[in-house]
């Protein structure tokens, strides 16, 4: 029964994303437009590009994760189905996790899949590619979680999208630091284990606490 409802919410979210098609691919397109603009801005020199590649890919991933946040809870809030979350038998914590998980599947996973292409375009050293993939695998869920929290906080405001980026950016500073740090040290041939471990612990912390805070914010909004 419980897993049935969770499954229903997840498949509904994914089906909606597939039917919206192009809109769901916007974050990925945005990521690549940033990756293309960087060499145009700083010059095509491979040395400079490979030095800034980890940071640039991560900044692009961070910015593109902000794009789809606006509509994370809004349609449900506007048609009133968000209120139903408190009437059902499922904990809202779980529903928030499912919604954020489907958001990650739609926006985070394509970025991870196409990251090797972006890495090639910016001449990321091949040794660091594996670390980049792991850092994205650990880091993009945190971006979805923190972004989801910001989306929940700004849900009933009318200038949500501007506020979203101001709220998300200070909170994801540690993610950016550890993720790009991991890729940079891997590019120098040093083991990135410490960085990735810290990133993983932030993921666990975010996974535990963010849905609680987001559920509380949604509750106040719906009240």
């Amino acid at each position: 029964m419980m897993s049935g409802s969770i499954w229903a919410l997840l498949t509904q979210d994914l089906r909606l994303a597939i039917r919206h098609g192009g809109e769901s691919l916007m974050p990925l397109m945005f990521l690549f437009s940033v990756i293309i603009l960087v060499p145009l801005g700083v010059g095509p020199g491979p040395n400079l590009l490979s030095a800034i590649a980890p940071g640039m890919i991560w900044v692009a991933a961070l910015l593109s994760s902000l794009l789809a946040l606006e509509r994370l809870f809004r349609p449900d809030y506007e048609d009133g189905s968000l209120e139903q979350w408190w009437l059902g038998h499922l904990p809202v914590y779980g529903l928030v996790v499912v919604r954020l998980f489907s958001h990650w599947l739609i926006t985070g996973v394509p970025i991870i899949v196409f990251a090797p292409v972006a890495a090639q375009m910016l001449y990321l050293p091949p040794d660091a590619l594996g670390t980049l993939m792991i850092s994205l695998l650990l880091g993009t869920p945190i971006l979805s979680l923190v972004g989801g929290l910001a989306a929940a906080l700004t849900l009933s405001t009318n200038r949500g999208s501007v506020l979203l980026s101001i709220l998300v950016f200070p909170l994801v500073v540690p993610v950016l630091v550890f993720a790009t740090g991991a890729v940079s040290v891997a590019a120098e041939g040093i083991s990135p284990q410490t960085h990735l471990g810290l990133l993983a612990s932030i993921l666990v912390l975010a996974l535990t606490l963010v849905p609680l805070a987001a559920a509380a914010a949604l509750r106040i909004t719906v009240e």
Binding site: L153, I166, P170, V173, P174, V177, A213, A216, A217
Partner: protein, 252 residues
Amino acid sequence: MSAFHTLKVGFHRLGSPPNFYQLATRLAPWFWVGFLITASIGLYQALYVVPPDYQQSDSYRILFIHVPSAWQALAGYAIMAVLAAIALIWRIRTTEIMAMACAPVGAAFTFICLTTGAIWGKPMWGTWWVWDARLTSMLVLLFIYLGIMGLYAAFEDRRKGARVACILVLVGVVNIPIIQFSVEWWTTLHQGSTINFFGESTMDPAMLPPLIWMTIAVKLMFTAVMLQRASLDLIDQDRRKQWVVGAIGEQS
């Protein structure tokens, strides 16, 4: 037991807007008086009594504004977080308003800390800005403050806005230590050595009294401004209610 009871009743009485308004408007002038006294003692000592530094001569005297503001920027966040937790747990409206009144004052002290730091840094380090761990985390703190203020301002329903912003305040409590740690990690990764504020010279004991006076002054000022902002926010929100008409009528 009875002492606890009185305390509890007093606490609940403060939750009532008219009582809070009365107390805040009565206390705030006294905090200002305290601020003026302590700040004039502190500034006099800082500018005339303390000898110039053997390395930095007179320019280090900006420290007596810079350091208390930095402390207050962090202390202000702690006060705001405690108020936000009380507001969310017991749903006390005046505490919500007080927590929200802390944010602009804290942001102002963070800004003062950053600008005085830049003014001090220009002659000392030769540059206005260094990506040092402390500077960067102060800058991030400023943006957290601004986010809280922006979130509170973005809501039509101010009560709802205050409670949602209180959640953000508590999220910041968990996140600020992580940010601090990550930024320290980041500066050691990207730069060989970082510049320390109190790197070479340990502080002269003569510098301590004005620093303490200024710290007390800044705390009194924070409290005065916070109380005034909170009481103004309260009468603004309740301007159609009977008690506000009564309270303002009494004063004029």
